[in-house]
């Protein structure tokens, strides 16, 4: 499996140093791709969009996931039913979620438009608005993905020993403080792994965004990964795509190291 893991990295770096035509190399151009890329305003803009998309979605999905996980951890009934219903958005593929929401949000015939009309509101542009497209995508993404951290956090919460809570209560700790001082530190490593997983997922997402907006309007939703996709598969600019891909790769590493540093507990490794 190591071969499978490492070969693509080698290949991607290798091909990003060449010009290509239809999957075949034509000329060696060295680091020219990278210099051109990193100085282009398009690239920086796509980078910014990726960050807003990923961090915005993280800021919503992680608390939501944790909130529901905590609620489901309480002694209540119908747990299985609640758990199963709540994960349904995540069981749909990105294509389905994208097309479904595209229909719901359509400014001419979407059901949401109908309801708003009846309620007396005017026409909303939703995804046709350069100001709202990205926030709406973040919200749809949150709707679709919150079950991921929810499941992982639920599992992590199972490992917290009851005696810790009991002794905390005896010491007069409130539930809120108990969460921050006892629960969270205990499951720190799981939270870190979840954060890494979710961030990688968001940085790599292409299908949902491409299906709903194609990167527009006015490139306001063109994240780095969408850019890679368009370069490679719409324009067949494989080398350029590879270069952007490498950059995403490095970004992923940066984020992960950041989480590890922030959330490390003693002998992490």
């Amino acid at each position: 499996m190591g071969l499978i893991a490492f070969y693509p990295v080698y290949y991607a770096v290798d091909i990003s140093l060449y010009q290509t035509q239809f999957l075949k190399k034509t000329a060696f151009v060295g680091l020219a791709q990278y210099t051109r890329l990193l100085t282009s305003p398009d690239f920086l803009r796509a980078l910014g969009t990726s960050l807003v998309y990923a961090l915005g979605s993280l800021a919503l999905t992680l608390p939501l996931g944790m909130g529901f996980a905590l609620l489901l951890n309480r002694p209540i009934r119908f747990k299985a039913a609640f758990r199963t219903i709540l994960i349904i958005p995540w069981t749909l593929s990105q294509t389905v979620v994208g097309l479904l929401w595209l229909w719901l949000l359509n400014p001419s015939y979407g059901p949401i438009k109908y309801v708003l009309d009846e309620a007396g509101f005017g026409q909303f542009l939703f995804l046709s608005s350069p100001d709202w497209a990205l926030p709406i995508l973040v919200l749809v993404n949150t709707w679709m993905t919150f079950p991921l951290p929810m499941i992982l956090f639920q599992a992590a919460l199972q490992t917290v020993p009851q005696d810790l809570y009991d002794s905390a209560k005896i010491d007069g700790c409130t539930a809120w403080a108990g969460f921050w001082r006892i629960t969270l530190p205990f499951i720190q490593n799981s939270v870190m792994a979840t954060a890494i997983m979710t961030t990688l997922h968001f940085f790599n997402m292409v299908t949902l965004i491409y299906v709903m907006t194609g990167g527009g309007p006015l490139e306001t939703t063109q994240t780095l990964s969408v850019r890679v996709f368009l370069d490679a598969f719409a324009n067949f600019k494989v080398a350029s795509a590879a270069a952007v891909g490498i950059v995403i790769f490095l970004l992923n590493i940066v984020f992960s190291l950041f989480y590890i540093r922030v959330l490390r507990r003693g002998d992490l490794y």
Binding site: L86, V96, W103, A155, Q158
Partner: protein, 280 residues
């Protein structure tokens, strides 16, 4: 005493309320898709929208369930998902155990490197993986695809499960070893049951990832009998339009196996596993 009971009751109401609200928000958009799957194609695009299908039709579902091609893609994806879960748990569990318990030189570096390999964006690895598959003549192979899925997922799984192994008190394992258990035996009998929730969560993760994957399935197969569920979904999108009734029915059917697997894994999410383990 009375106020504590009242407070618990209030908390319960709040809990049910919030969970209920969450369920409504999760389900509402899907209800639209579900209703559409029971409509005739000619009623799908009506405006104002037809809220209740009239007439209700099951033809989309029956067409799908009697189609050889659809059953084939579901089968393929099941094999791939099952295989990946098996491979993943077999590799990630011992890996996570080693990562959590053992100390050896270069451990940090190895762990980080493992994680880093899953950080290259999926789209960037597609073409090189494809070319690798061609050279090794491994297109249309269950095994190769499972390895590719595993390469992406296992590193993250190792890190996640590691967290679970770390909170299992070492004393339990040491006690077993003193009692004459071998190391793998201790792992199997003591640690593994205690990290069940982590394993279950990872299993669901793998299932959903493989089941909903489109790109890897589309790139690594070019024979119709090896296609996956998401590739099959595209057949409901034709050049003369999207057949929404078929599309939604397909989407709904596709969620069924995941929900079944999840219900099955529910009992692994057992609480308070380490309660009372340390005392005495």
């Amino acid at each position: 005493m009375a106020s504590r009971k009242a407070r618990t009751r209030r908390l319960d109401v709040l809990t049910y309320g919030l969970l209920g609200l969450g369920c409504v928000m999760a389900l509402a958009p899907i209800v639209w898709g579900l209703l559409t799957s029971f409509k005739l194609e000619s009623n799908v695009a009506l405006y104002p929208p037809q809220w209740v299908p009239n007439p209700v039709t099951f033809e989309h579902y029956s067409d799908l369930l009697t189609s050889k091609e659809v059953l084939r893609v579901f089968f393929n994806s099941l094999v791939l998902a099952g295989g990946t879960i098996l491979l993943g748990l077999l590799v990630a569990s011992p890996g996570a155990y080693a990562a959590a318990r053992f100390r050896f030189r270069g451990k940090n570096a190895i762990l980080l490197t493992i994680l880093v390999t899953s950080m290259i964006p999926g789209i960037s690895i597609l073409i090189p993986i494809f070319l690798l598959a061609i050279r090794a003549e491994l297109l249309n192979s269950y095994v190769f695809m499972i390895l590719v899925y595993g390469a992406w997922l296992v590193p993250q799984a190792i890190w996640f499960i590691k967290g679970f192994v770390e909170v299992v008190p070492r004393e339990l394992e040491e006690a077993a070893l003193i009692d004459g258990c071998s190391l793998p035996g201790a792992f199997w009998r003591i640690t593994l049951p205690l990290i069940q929730p982590g394993l279950a969560a990872v299993a669901i993760l793998f299932f959903v990832f493989v089941w909903n994957d489109f790109l890897i399935g589309a790139v690594l197969t070019n024979r119709e009998e090896m296609r996956t569920v998401q590739v099959g979904l595209l057949r409901t999108i034709q050049d003369i339009g999207i057949f929404w009734g078929q599309f939604m029915a397909y989407a709904m059917l596709a969620t069924a196996p995941i929900l079944v697997a999840f219900l099955f894994l529910q009992k692994r999410f057992v609480e308070g596993l380490t309660r009372g383990g340390v005392k005495g």
